[in-house]
């Protein structure tokens, strides 16, 4: 009787402990979800206004005089409204299309960042008369917030209204393509050698320890390595796609090697032995039996490594990719900037109008990363095999 009572008390205590532990875990989960929600809500609320941009409809006159002084192309009331980025291009447009000289066209022109911010309800210093003009034109439909094509079609600019993410996006794509081309074959081949061919001895163990170690090395060191080896020794142009791709490739290499080895190790030995029993050579075993079944794992690891490289800024700072580079690269020796670098540059700009661009850039980067990770998950689920 006594004994069973003691038992049931202990049992209750154990149940309580379990419930408590479960509650802690749920609290931890709730906490991280809360952080995530706050972060996303903040970024989205800051970033979504950047997807529309103020444009103003104005009459543009082309004459000898406006060739000299571009602001005269638009009526006086519009001059404080129209972005300089539009006005400075007008003389060249007229030079290339001489027929427009002496004529007047009605066009939608990009408005200044101040006007744009004012329309979005931000606190800006605008003179009273400009405020009145803006309100009047907005009511008349001469001034509109339209979908921001500039943001997706332009490179960086010192005029906030003109700046866009395109050049950085193209830069990221080019750099990642090189990173992949450099690190995927080398990484996969290294892993295959270590896993399938090499004997387990001191030497291969030392290599394994070093590779694991490299995966944990802070990324800034890869930047320093890239500067010393690729730029200073091999003379790869500073800030170029090639320098970035090789440096990030070095960084991604250990991740690919480790994940590939894990994927190869997950292939059960009977598959290898069966193939050997049929008289296959080691290469045939790897090519026809081991690689195909481990490919989802290899690709997943590679995509995760690339996603990490995509968000990397520190090593790129060292090799000069965080700079004012407004044009998308057209070759591997061209200078380029990448998405996180662009975000970093905008975050440092004094102009308040860059705040929403920074947040919008972050949203775009997150969207790219989420889709990359989603592809990784899809590949794993789609081709997963259980033994």
């Amino acid at each position: 009787m006594d004994l069973s009572q003691a038992d049931s008390t202990r049992l209750r205590r154990r149940y309580r402990a379990e419930k408590r532990f479960k509650a802690y875990c749920i609290a931890a989960l709730a906490m991280s979800v809360l952080f995530l929600v706050v972060f996303f809500a903040d970024m989205i609320s800051q970033g979504y206004p950047a997807f529309v941009q103020a444009e103003v409809r104005a009459e543009v006159t082309f004459s000898e005089q406006t060739m000299e002084i571009p602001p005269l192309s638009v009526p006086e009331a519009f001059r404080p409204l129209v972005s300089r980025g539009e006005l400075r291009l007008l003389p060249e447009y007229a030079r290339n299309n001489p027929t427009v000289m002496g004529t007047t066209e009605t066009r939608w022109l990009l408005a200044k960042a101040d006007i744009d911010q004012y329309l979005k309800g931000k606190d800006v210093n605008l003179p009273e008369d400009v405020r009145r003009t803006v309100d009047r034109l907005y009511e008349q439909g001469q001034l509109e917030l339209n979908f921001n094509t500039y943001f997706f079609a332009n490179g960086d600019s010192k005029l906030p209204e003109l700046s866009g993410i395109f050049a950085a996006l193209m830069g990221s794509v080019a750099v990642l393509a090189l990173t992949l081309a450099f690190s995927f074959p080398i990484g996969v081949m290294t892993a295959i050698y270590l896993e399938e061919f090499a004997r387990d001895n001191r030497f291969t163990q030392a290599i394994e320890v070093n590779i694991n170690n490299l995966a944990a090395v802070p990324s800034i060191l890869f930047g320093l390595l890239g500067l010393a080896v690729f730029i200073n020794f091999f003379g790869v142009p500073r800030s170029s796609v090639l320098a970035g791709g090789l440096t990030l490739g070095l960084m991604t290499l250990p991740i690919i090697i480790i994940s590939t080895r894990a994927a190869l190790r997950a292939v059960p030995d009977p598959i290898r032995l069966g193939a050997f029993a049929m008289g296959c050579s080691r290469w045939q075993v790897v090519r026809d039996h081991v690689l195909p079944v481990s490919l989802p794992g290899i690709l997943t690891g590679t995509i995760i490594g690339l996603a990490q490289a995509m968000g990397e800024t520190a090593p790129l700072l060292i090799i000069g990719m965080i700079a004012y580079i407004p044009e998308a690269p057209s070759g591997i020796a061209d200078a380029a900037t990448v998405l996180p670098a662009q975000i970093y540059t905008w975050a440092g700009m004094p102009d308040r109008a860059y705040v929403e661009r920074t947040a919008a850039g972050i949203l775009l980067l997150l969207a790219v990363l989420i889709s990359m990770n989603a592809i990784a998950v899809y590949l794993r689920k789609r081709f997963e095999r259980r033994w």
């Binding site: 300089r84 980025g85 400075r88 291009l89 060249e92 606190d123 210093n125 600019s157 010192k158 005029l159 690729f230 730029i231 091999f234 003379g235 790869v236 142009p237 500073r238 800030s239 090639l242 000069g320 965080i322 700079a323 004012y324 580079i325 407004p326 044009e327 591997i332 020796a333 200078a335 975050a347 440092g348 700009m349 004094p350 102009d351 308040r352």
Partner: protein, 336 residues
């Protein structure tokens, strides 16, 4: 083994070939983060309104820029470096040792360093002496240097607010930091009894180095009403609704007090051009011409909207004349 050797050699050759074959059509600018907004603005205008490619402008800090600049001549070194302080003798010597040859110095405007705080606070009025005592690692007391004992502003002077000293300022790589040390600390250290120039900044947490990103300091000041920040005038101009500047020695920082030199913590902004690159890199001379044009650095120029404080008219003309002569600098021009 032979395949490996061939691959390595092939890769080396390919990489070297890319380096050599890179005919430079694009101007490369490095240097000061304070000058970066001005320089990249000119670069953009240059790219948009001429047939030349837009120059690449990299923000490396004044010291970092001069280091890259002085690595030598040739297409893998920058053509222009921006600086928020004059080149130092040691840097000039390094340039000469590396065969850079003639360097053309161009001074194009002023920048003020402001001591700012949250706009909701009572106006703050400081002297350079008080500032030095607040940020120095050691202070003179009874003829000897002791660890800085000041924790609250009111301990330095009863007229200052009874608040904890918390200063967000630039890191050591920054030209703003160099200028602050020179214009504030070194300028008054003799009078305070340091017995010579003193410019060590305290590291006990009262002064927080905040990276090259001045926006971060602005944000911190927005959140923390007790904090004081040190940064360039252009950031104050952009955030006037959020921040107010302390007067230094009774003078408020504004464009006229900064350009006249009345506001004591102001400095000149420069860029340096490699003369040897002038014929080699297309558009380099035109870029500098555009930079010095009245529509950029003039009294109503675009750079003024970004917070640049223009040189007086005669100085602007003198600078243009000096540039037109392509006059290289000599070591005797340098003080430090």
């Amino acid at each position: 083994m032979r395949v490996w050797q061939r691959t390595v050699i092939g890769l080396t050759v390919a990489l070297t070939a890319i380096g050599i074959a890179q005919a430079r059509e694009q101007i490369r600018v490095v240097g000061s983060s304070t000058v970066y907004p001005f320089s990249s603005y000119v670069a953009e205008e240059f790219g948009a309104t001429t047939d030349f490619t837009t120059p690449i402008v990299e923000s490396t800090g004044s010291g970092g820029g001069l280091k890259l600049f002085c690595n030598g001549v040739g297409s893998d070194t920058p053509d222009v470096t921006n600086a928020s302080r004059p080149i130092k003798k040691s840097e000039f010597q390094r340039c000469q040792d590396n065969g850079v040859g003639d360097i053309i110095e161009v001074m194009f405007g002023y920048d003020g360093i402001v001591i700012a705080q949250n706009e909701k606070n009572e106006p703050l009025s400081l002297t350079r002496e008080q500032l030095t005592l607040a940020v120095a690692a050691q202070v003179p007391q009874d003829g000897e240097l002791v660890e800085n004992p000041y924790v609250r502003w009111s301990q330095i002077d009863a007229s200052l607010p009874d608040k904890e000293i918390l200063i967000y300022g630039p890191p050591t790589s920054s030209g703003t930091r160099d200028a602050f040390e020179e214009l504030v600390m070194e300028a008054v250290s003799e009078d305070l009894g340091y017995g010579g120039e003193y410019s060590n900044i305290r590291q006990d947490g009262a002064f927080v180095p905040s990276g090259e990103n001045d926006n971060l300091i602005v944000q911190k000041l927005g959140q923390n009403r007790h904090a004081v920040g040190i940064f360039g005038y252009s950031f104050l101009e952009e955030n006037k609704s959020l921040l107010s500047a302390a007067s230094v020695g009774g003078v408020e920082p504004n464009p006229s007090t900064i350009s006249s030199g009345e506001y004591p913590v102001s400095r000149s902004l420069f860029f340096y051009v490699k003369k040897a690159h002038l014929g080699e890199v297309s558009g380099l001379a035109e870029y500098v011409d555009l930079f010095l044009a009245e529509k950029m650095v003039g009294n109503y120029g675009y750079l003024k909207d970004l917070g640049l404080i223009p040189l007086p008219k005669e100085r602007r003309e003198a600078v243009r004349a000096k540039w037109a002569d392509r006059e290289g600098m000599t070591k005797d021009d340098l003080v430090h």
